[in-house]
């Protein structure tokens, strides 16, 4: 081939580059390795992990059963190795699946429309905030103090430079729910939106309807964010919200050290043209048969450039497909049962920890996570003891909640594991 192009060496292909820009040495890297060596390397890394530990970590990344069929399907080359479905005629598979995803997310959240995915929940949240600012043409944001702290940090990174003032709304120290009085006191005609999380970072379910009513009274929008999608199988959907941002990792992907996961963004029909991200829509082909294609792309960067609703291009399509398959295989009844099992497991854990004298920090209704404070010593001490029993304990909290921890129990946590974890609460100071 080289010869066909009149070249004698690969170097000729780069000879038009300024000579001083060419790298005149080999890359300083090991030689190429065989498949076997690569597997070996990663197996060694995997063995440095916590595979044989029970774990009570949640806090935005959850461990749930993962039906085997998900990977059987998403590893089909037709899904795994296809690009964004710009050419609808040979991408109907992906397009149909996205359309189903959008529908299920809408059904689950009580919204009218959902997009084809965002990077994750933490980036979907500032996108929702910017969307609310575009819609309301206001720039002040209220943010619940019970938001996931990393989400709050991401919000900060995204919004700091846009000159939009952000204020925190406190949570009630007793219930762990948003403090409605504090909310009232901060809401005003400049408020673009209030951002809350439900279940919130402490696992507590927020009073969405009451909050919405107050927010709307001031012409502001309510953005409800969630990190634990399993809750939506049993809890009332945030239908009173204007925008729902969230994370479907629980439905789609093992924790994988935090990514990839699957951000979602859903809203009311009337706001569709202000949404970021891709949308699949229904249409027909030349022969009048139902077909799907990407639509409303005039919102997107490749058409609208600097005026686009977002810069997002590549999203989390394959993880969204995993979530779609998960939602399908569990289905209407299965998601409910799953949520009920999570409630039951968490209640058992609560009982076991109370049995060791631990105090549950908040009284508000919680789903599968709650904040607990050991009777003696700190969360860090408890966790240290737990590790010795092959248990990864809860997420250690700081600030006002210093010494307490956020624990999570899902359908995967066995009773025996919970009993084992509870034991760590009654040891002396480590």
């Amino acid at each position: 081939m080289l010869e066909a192009l009149g070249h004698s060496a690969p170097e000729d292909l780069f000879s038009h580059l300024p000579a001083d820009l060419l790298l005149n040495r080999p890359l300083d890297m090991p030689d190429g390795q065989s498949e076997y060596e690569i597997i070996d390397y990663f197996q060694a890394r995997a063995a440095e992990g916590a595979a044989d530990y029970a774990s009570f970590l949640g806090a935005g990344s959850y461990s749930h059963f993962r039906p085997v069929v998900i990977d059987s399907l998403v590893t089909r080359g037709e899904f795994l190795t296809s690009y964004t479905p710009y050419q609808a005629e040979i991408s109907q598979g992906v397009l149909t699946a996205i359309f189903e995803f959008q529908t299920m997310v809408a059904q689950l959240t009580g919204m009218d429309v959902a997009n084809a995915s965002m990077y994750d929940g933490s980036t979907a949240t500032p996108e929702a905030a910017m969307m609310a600012m575009r819609i309301t043409r206001r720039d002040k944001l209220l943010v619940a103090g019970s938001l996931h702290p990393e989400y709050n940090a991401v919000l900060d990174t995204y919004l700091r430079h846009l000159g939009s003032p952000r204020q925190q709304v406190a949570y009630q120290p007793e219930t762990g729910q948003l403090d409605l009085e504090d909310l009232e006191s901060q809401l005003n005609g400049q408020t673009a939106a209030l951002i809350i999380q439900s279940p919130n970072f402490f696992g507590i379910i927020e009073q969405i309807d009451e909050i919405a009513e107050r927010v709307h009274r001031h012409g502001a929008l309510l953005i409800v964010m969630f990190t634990e999608s399993v809750a939506l199988g049993i809890t009332k959907p945030p239908a009173a919200a204007d925008i729902v941002a969230g994370e479907l990792q629980s439905f789609a992907h093992p924790p994988s050290f935090g990514g990839p996961s699957c951000g979602v963004l859903a809203t009311k029909r009337k706001y569709i043209r202000q949404m970021p991200g891709r949308l699949a829509g229904e249409t027909v082909d030349e022969d009048g048969r139902r077909a799907f294609c990407l639509t409303l792309s005039t919102r997107e960067q490749h058409i609208r450039r600097a005026k686009a609703t977002s810069n997002i291009c590549t999203n989390q399509a394959l993880v969204a497909l995993m979530a779609t398959i998960y939602m399908t295989i569990f289905g209407k009844q299965g998601l409910r049962e799953l949520a009920e099992q999570n409630i039951a497991k968490a209640r058992y854990l609560e009982g076991a920890l109370r049995g060791r004298g631990a105090r549950i920090e908040f009284t508000g209704p919680y789903f599968n996570e709650f904040v607990v404070r050991p009777a003696v010593g700190t969360a860090a001490e408890v966790n240290r003891r737990a590790l010795e029993n092959k248990v990864v304990g809860g997420f250690e909290l700081t600030g006002a909640l210093d010494g307490a921890m956020l624990v999570c129990a899902t359908e995967m946590n066995r009773r025996e594991e919970m009993d084992r974890f509870a034991e760590s609460f009654s040891g002396g100071a480590a």
Binding site: A4, P10, L13, F14, L17, L23, P26, L27, M29, D31, Q43, R45, A46, A47, E48, G49, A50, P67, L73, E78, L80, T81, S82, Q87, A88, I90, Q92, T103, M104, A106, A114, Y119, S122, M130, H148, V154, K236, P255, F257, G258, G259, T283, D285, D287, L296, Q301, H302, N311, C313, T314, N315, L318, L321, R336, Q341, Y348, P365, L387, V392, R414
Partner: protein, 495 residues
């Protein structure tokens, strides 16, 4: 003659909602080993939802059939060449899928104790090290979830850097050939966008640039090789110009597949750049994502890198969660870690030499296509091509045939189309990127198909305009879709 495909049957399949039967379920949970709890009691009546309206109810075999059938309606790299320009659709090695699923990695929790996370942290540290060497930059963050996200991260670092110098600037310069994410990013980061013109060689017009860089200029975002597949030969001069006027040079590294092992942006004067691991480093596109968009920086930007930072201290790996000067977090946790695993596996498999060879093959393949087609398609720029080649449809428009028509007709020949109508500086662009993983056989079939379509455009234009003719779905009406968007299934209204 169409050599590459023949029609065969594909199963029809309704939407999953239309397949549902009340009471069906595809998954069984193990029995509870703790007492059941009444949800309404636990959460309060008000907090419990009614059943999810119209949610699917199907069996496991329904699920397998449904998504298997759907999958057969897709084109994919595993089926053949996917010459989407700017997308670097290369083969995705299967071992990468295997290692990303190893239990100790796939099930690692981002908050598990550091001593149990050494493997996950080392994977990141090793990948950062290799990417620094490949780009010639001083440090890398792996947080960003995709290229556009990397752009934002990079531009925010530039902002933080300039601000730390007490130098608040307000515009970002972007060539007219740039990808849409560049201006969209600059706007999201709070900058005004100014476009810079390309010259007749398809490169940034240095004089035009010189005229526009001033003390309000925060940065220039340049793609190199640029979106017409041409190396910006003035790149070093451009860097000097910017630096001399207090601005920074951002490089969109989407086209790094043309450079790896041969030339390094760090050696051109680039201050910050992103990579698309889902392009250059072969992580699968998965119908649109997930990807990863690491950002590489020169040392002056290191203080501004987002947190967390993975560092090695002695033999141990640590994650630094806080930094005063950092731009903060751009995403919760550690980025798309599973994607990082795949990219590292790709790099390990190739090694330095293998990466360099792959680059040469990618450039070779693009030039082979250029040579095979330049007599039948208009080549707007005669500058040497790198990893992709851009034609225009100007020879075909006389019969009313546009790049989009040629693309649709190419489908009938068994290929995924090239990138259509981008970059915008080429009117009616056909942007073709074969990548290194295509064989000579497949390239020849492609050239043959493209020549045949050119011939049809001449002799049977209607055939081209109404294509595709061999797909289960004929040309899809995109206008109708946008007119009254239906983006969600609703149950048929009962009569």
């Amino acid at each position: 003659m169409i050599k590459k495909v023949r029609p065969h049957q594909t199963q029809n399949e309704p939407l999953i909602f239309e397949r549902s039967s009340a009471g069906k379920k595809g998954y069984q949970l193990p029995p509870l080993d703790v007492p059941a709890v009444n949800a309404a009691e636990a959460l309060g009546d008000d907090n419990v939802r009614a059943e999810i309206p119209h949610f699917p109810e199907v069996s496991e075999v329904d699920v397998i059939r449904h998504y298997t059938r759907l999958s057969t309606w897709n084109y994919a790299i595993d089926l053949g060449m996917y010459p989407l320009g700017s997308c670097t659709m290369k083969y995705n090695p299967r071992v990468n899928e295997h290692v990303a699923r190893l239990e100790g990695l796939a099930w690692a929790h981002p908050y598990q104790p550091e001593q149990l996370s050494q493997g996950a942290l080392r994977v990141q540290h090793d990948l950062e090290t290799y990417l620094s060497e490949i780009t010639g930059m001083d440090a890398v963050t792996l947080q960003p979830a995709a290229g556009a996200h990397g752009e934002m991260t990079g531009i925010l670092m530039i902002r933080a850097y300039l601000e730390s110098q007490g130098d608040v600037r307000k515009t970002v310069l972007i060539p007219d050939s740039a990808h849409g994410t560049n201006p969209a990013t600059a706007a999201m980061a709070g900058y005004e966008v100014k476009e810079v013109r390309s010259n007749e060689k398809g490169m940034i017009d240095f004089a035009a640039l010189e005229a526009v860089v001033d003390e309000t200029t925060a940065a220039l975002m340049v793609t190199n090789p640029n979106t017409v597949g041409i190396f910006e030969e003035d790149i070093a001069k451009i860097a000097d110009l910017l630096h001399s006027r207090g601005a920074q040079l951002y490089m969109d590294g989407a086209n790094m597949n043309a450079l790896v092992g041969w030339a390094r942006p760090g050696d051109f004067g680039v201050d910050v750049m992103h990579l698309n691991l889902h392009k250059t480093f072969s992580t699968p596109h998965g119908g649109g994502g997930p990807g990863a968009g690491p950002v590489a920086v020169k040392s002056h930007l290191v203080p501004h890198l987002p947190v967390p930072r993975v560092v090695k201290q002695g033999d141990a790996y640590k994650s630094i969660e806080e930094s005063e000067t950092s731009i903060g977090r751009v995403r919760a946790f550690y980025g798309n870690f599973g994607v990082l695993i795949r990219a590292l596996a790709y790099i390990l498999a190739h090694g330095g030499n293998g990466l360099k060879n792959a680059t040469a093959d990618a450039v070779l393949n693009a030039n082979y296509i250029r040579k095979g087609l330049e007599d039948v398609y208009d080549l707007p720029y005669s500058s040497p091509a790198m990893h992709e080649v851009v034609f225009s449809d100007s020879k075909q428009t006389k019969n009313g045939i546009k790049t989009g028509d040629i693309a649709k007709r190419l489908i009938d020949y068994g290929f995924h189309p090239y990138t259509v109508s981008f970059p915008m500086i080429v009117h009616g662009a056909l942007m073709i990127e074969p990548t290194e993983t295509e064989s000579l056989q497949e390239l020849d079939l492609f050239i043959d198909a493209m020549r045949s379509v050119a011939d049809e455009a001449e002799n049977d234009p209607d055939l081209v305009k109404t294509a595709p003719h061999s797909t289960r779905t004929s040309r899809v009406n995109e206008t109708l879709a946008a007119r009254n968007p239906v983006v969600k299934w609703d149950p048929p209204t009962s009569e």
